[in-house]
């Protein structure tokens, strides 16, 4: 028998690093992809920035906290870009017919998921950071005024985006490329109940229950509590974090189950056709 050593560890950072490197190569070689990452957050920020400017002189509510809409837009984009970054990094493997190569490599499904999370984070930061800078330059509205809680909001939202991304990729693995469009659409399903631009109390009572069962609503409520009332609501953050853990477990479970079914049905070879 051969005595060569092969890394059979349950988790190897080097394999996750290799996956991230593969996608960084892709981004580095394609400036349109990088521009696309920055495009929508910037457009959104400009659009909502002007709206905020208008409302500042016309609404006493908004006047209490300038930048509340811009902050909401930017935080929403964390969720949207995070989910899209996760799902697109997965779809890139299908579009390039590389999925079987990964499936027969030592890369474990859990490492694959972690590399998709890392790529989602990188893509989100590339998209969001320039937009936050422009918001400061154009509207003197800095999302960084939220202080340290901003980091907590960001983490809560990006984790939820990964959970949704896992559910989306699980669906694509299960039913094929017919579900590709869910990568763009899925996130908007929770937008109305995420209390992004209005408080949860605006919603009908039964929808309020739905809203509080998602980690997004407490995050946006927490953001408004800081910007409008100057209050940091730890209870809302804990509420969001606990739900994030739950959704992440569900998302990972769905992905791993779909991966197993794909191996049983031979979908890993057929997907993309």
């Amino acid at each position: 028998m051969s005595n060569r050593t092969v890394n059979t560890a349950l988790f190897a950072p080097s394999r996750v690093g290799a996956m991230v490197l593969r996608h960084v190569y892709l981004l580095r070689a394609s400036w349109p992809r990088v521009v696309e990452l920055m495009y929508w957050p910037t457009i959104q920020m400009v659009l909502w920035g002007f709206l905020t400017k208008f409302l500042l002189t016309n609404s006493s509510y908004i006047a209490q906290a300038s930048g509340v809409l811009i902050s909401a837009v930017l935080l929403w984009d964390v969720l949207f870009r995070g989910q899209l970054g996760f799902s697109l990094s997965f779809l890139e493997e299908i579009w390039s017919r590389n999925l079987p190569n990964l499936a027969v490599s030592p890369l474990r499904p859990s490492e694959f998921l972690i590399s998709l999370m890392a790529m989602s984070l990188i893509r989100t930061l590339i998209g969001i950071l320039p937009a936050t800078g422009l918001a400061i330059i154009f509207y003197h509205a800095s999302v960084y005024d939220l202080g340290l809680p901003l980091l907590a909001f960001f983490v809560n939202l990006i984790v939820m985006s990964w959970a949704i991304g896992m559910a989306v990729t699980a669906l694509i693995l299960r039913v094929g490329m017919g579900a590709e469009s869910t990568a763009w659409l899925a996130i908007f399903l929770i937008a109305p109940v995420s209390a992004i631009y209005y408080p949860v109390s605006v919603l009908p009572e039964w929808l309020q229950l739905v809203a509080w069962s998602l980690p997004t609503a407490p995050v946006f409520e927490g953001m408004r509590a800081i910007l409008i009332e100057g209050q940091f609501r730890v209870d809302l953050l804990i509420h969001a974090a606990l739900l994030d853990v739950l959704y992440l477990i569900i998302g990972a479970g769905l992905f791993l189950f779909s991966y197993h079914v794909a191996r049983r049905r031979g979908l890993l070879l057929q997907i993309g056709e």
Partner: protein, 265 residues
């Protein structure tokens, strides 16, 4: 004489796969030993690709046992995947990455020590130097095959599974690929399982042939044995006899299965 256990790198027994109740691989059994090239032959839909997919762990068998390098591939595939590799015309390398980026990526994925050194080594052996900075999507079919071959050898595999390794290649490039595979195998003592429709390729590379039809292995032997058994001039004629079930030259003796645990040859 039975083959020493350590030399049996692939052992398959009672392998079956069903899709929606239809059996596409049926009771397949064979052994491949270290340094041996075995070819899986059969018409389209005979079950070759499905068999290879199960050996790689891409597909879960409905029944049967697959031992690869001494490990159960269904239960412990991650103990083995770093020591094997594969190439198939139905699977691409990321086409927007350059050849060098692809190979560095796979080298890291397989935990190859000194990935850049391995890249240089393969670049020399496979004459990839001028292609390293080119994107996979910009390469010709022959160049892509060389890049895919480099990927398949990036981790110095002990077992290589090749699905139609020279499909769509011109005769010159195909000949070069075969020559390289022979050299690699001699140097490293690797086992190769090959699915191909190219009979000349099989006659040149394979020490042993498994003939598949309708998901079953219907005959097996060395190319010379099969040609003699069917009373034909070459493997292509044997292949046509088996695939068409013409019976123009039925084997003069029934298929002889190897003793359990014995090598394919």
């Amino acid at each position: 004489m039975s083959t020493p256990l350590a030399d049996r790198v692939i052992e398959v027994a009672g392998l079956c796969k069903e899709f929606d109740g239809k059996r596409v691989v049926d009771d397949v059994a064979f052994t491949v030993t270290r340094g041996q090239t075995v070819a899986l032959l059969g018409a389209n839909g005979a079950g070759k690709t499905t068999t290879i997919a199960m050996l790689l762990g891409l597909l879960l068998p409905t029944a049967g046992r697959i031992q690869m390098l001494g490990e159960n591939m269904v239960r412990h595939r991650y103990r083995v995947l770093g020591r094997i590799n594969f190439s198939s015309p139905y699977v691409d390398l990321p086409r927007r990455l350059t050849v060098a980026q692809n190979l560095l990526f796979f080298a890291r994925l397989y935990g190859v020590p000194d990935p850049k050194g391995r890249l240089r080594e393969l670049s020399e052996q496979l004459d990839l130097g001028p292609l390293l900075r080119q994107r996979i999507g910009a390469l010709s079919a022959g160049q892509k095959t060389r890049a895919s071959l480099a990927k398949a050898l990036i981790n110095r595999p002990e077992v290589i599974l090749l699905d139609e390794p020279t499909a769509s290649l011109d005769p010159d490039t195909a000949d070069w690929v075969r020559g390289y595979l022979e050299t690699y195998q001699k140097r490293r003592g690797a086992a190769i399982l090959l699915a191909s429709h190219n009979m000349a390729e099989v006659e040149r590379l394979a020490a042993f042939v498994l003939m598949m039809r309708g998901g079953r292995i219907v005959d097996r032997g060395t190319p010379a044995e099969l040609i003699q058994r069917y009373g034909r001039h070459n493997l292509e004629e044997v292949f046509l006899d088996i695939v068409r079930e013409t019976g123009a030259a039925r084997p003069s003796r029934p298929e002889t299965r190897p003793e359990p645990g014995a090598a394919a040859r």
